[in-house]
Amino acid sequence: MSGRVIVITSGKGGVGKTTTSANIGTALAKAGNKVVLIDTDIGLRNLDLLLGLENRIVYTIVDVVEGRCKLKQALVKDKKNPNLSLLAAAQTRDKSAVSEEQLKDICEKLKKDNDFILVDCPAGIEQGFQNAVAGASEAIVVTTPEMSAIRDADRIIGLLAAREEIESYKLLLNRVRPNLIATNDMMSVEDVVELLACDLIGIIPEDTGIISSTNKGDPIVNDEKSLAGQAYRNVARRIMGEEVEFLNLEEDKNFIGKIKDFFEKTIKEIKAKI
């Protein structure tokens, strides 16, 4: 078996890299794939919290590279899904604790008996980014429809395009708010895609359910009713090569929009009668 190594990156912090990693990883595992999530945000680890695994971590990625344990010992299995495991970041060290070569080596080893290795990248374009990208051949660039997030995503796309090892990179647009797009207060999906000139792999609507799912340590893809969960499950299916249509987020209309629709309908009916 030779697994695919996908790095999840963004440039700007706080746009949802870790949430995306946790959810895509869980969704891929639920679909029957063997998945390892690697948290490379050394010093600021959070992926363990989102998966609810914070109490089970014994060894971290730094312990692996410094020879205190074997790679297999450091992989923490998910509570619900035995297909999913986590290689956690160390909390007490910094980004220089692991080198590009060491991360590449870990990815190569994990490729042998896993379908997907998802690398959660730290914010920024410094060494932490270089390390996270080192072992990957695919990338998902997470951004939101905001000025600074888009500008930073553009920088990241430039850096990824310059790397020969990265065979493909796709855009994941997170925290989309259809009601703000409808009132022209937020850039639309089309606007962002046009600006960044990058293919889309997913559109995730803003969802308050994300907050409670993080608090519970249970990724939102496990909630069958959630729209964001549905969107993340669709991303996982696209990664697996399926063609899945993007969710139609526009039906989420505000009150005035609904009244307007009602009046338009009745006017049409009156017209038809006359």
């Binding site: 000025m147 888009i150 500008r151 553009d154 920088r155 430039g158 797009i181 009132t183 022209n184 207060d185 937020m186 850039m187 639309s188 606007d191 046009e194 600006l195 000139a197 990058c198 005035i256 307007k260 009046f263 006017i267 009156i270 017209k271 006359i274």
Partner: protein, 179 residues
């Protein structure tokens, strides 16, 4: 019937958000980002863009009479390719004679500015502050030393002379001044 639709439109234009430039935050964001991304990607500063614009006006004015104020130089995204879009409002095409004259004048101007540069270089040794500044600008602006100076001269002409046809005379005057 028309009463119904009129009433409907009146009622809902009240609720509808006005699509004015100020209200349309999305378009403001998009155009701001467009410019910033192009600058990030190409490393072209507004100053260099302005210089490029000036040089293009000079070049094109030899062949057509154009509206300098309305000439637009923009970047456009076409797929993953960045294209430079130039929109030139043409007032009228010049006839053969005028074009020939303009080309001759241009050649003359280049010859003179080259000579001018040489003069600057020799006089630099004498150490006049102003001249030193001028040559500094030339060397940092462009490898081809004649180009930046040429445009700055043309820009001055453009501002002082509204009529393109009268430009030639003033160009010649200006050249004489610099010599």
């Amino acid at each position: 019937m028309s009463f119904f639709t009129d009433f409907y439109n009146k009622v809902f234009s009240f609720f509808k958000p006005q699509d004015t430039a100020e209200n349309n935050v999305k378009d403001v964001a998009r155009s701001r980002l467009k410019l910033v991304l192009m600058q990030d990607r190409t490393n072209l500063t507004p100053k260099i863009l302005e210089q490029m614009r000036g040089e293009l006006i000079d070049l094109l004015s030899k062949y057509v009479e154009l509206d300098k104020e309305l000439l637009e130089l923009n970047f456009e995204q076409e797929g993953d390719q960045v294209a430079l879009m130039l929109s030139i409002p043409v007032i009228r095409a010049k006839d053969e004679k005028e074009i020939e004259e303009a080309i001759k004048k241009d050649a003359l101007l280049k010859g003179i500015t080259l000579a001018d540069d040489e003069e600057d270089d020799t006089e630099e040794e004498t150490g006049t502050d102003e001249l030193q500044e001028e040559t500094d600008k030339d060397s940092e602006g462009n490898q081809d030393e004649t180009l930046p100076q040429e445009t700055s001269e043309a820009d001055e002409n453009g501002e002082s002379q509204a009529e393109d046809t009268e430009n030639k005379n003033s160009d010649e005057e200006n050249v004489q001044e610099t010599v």
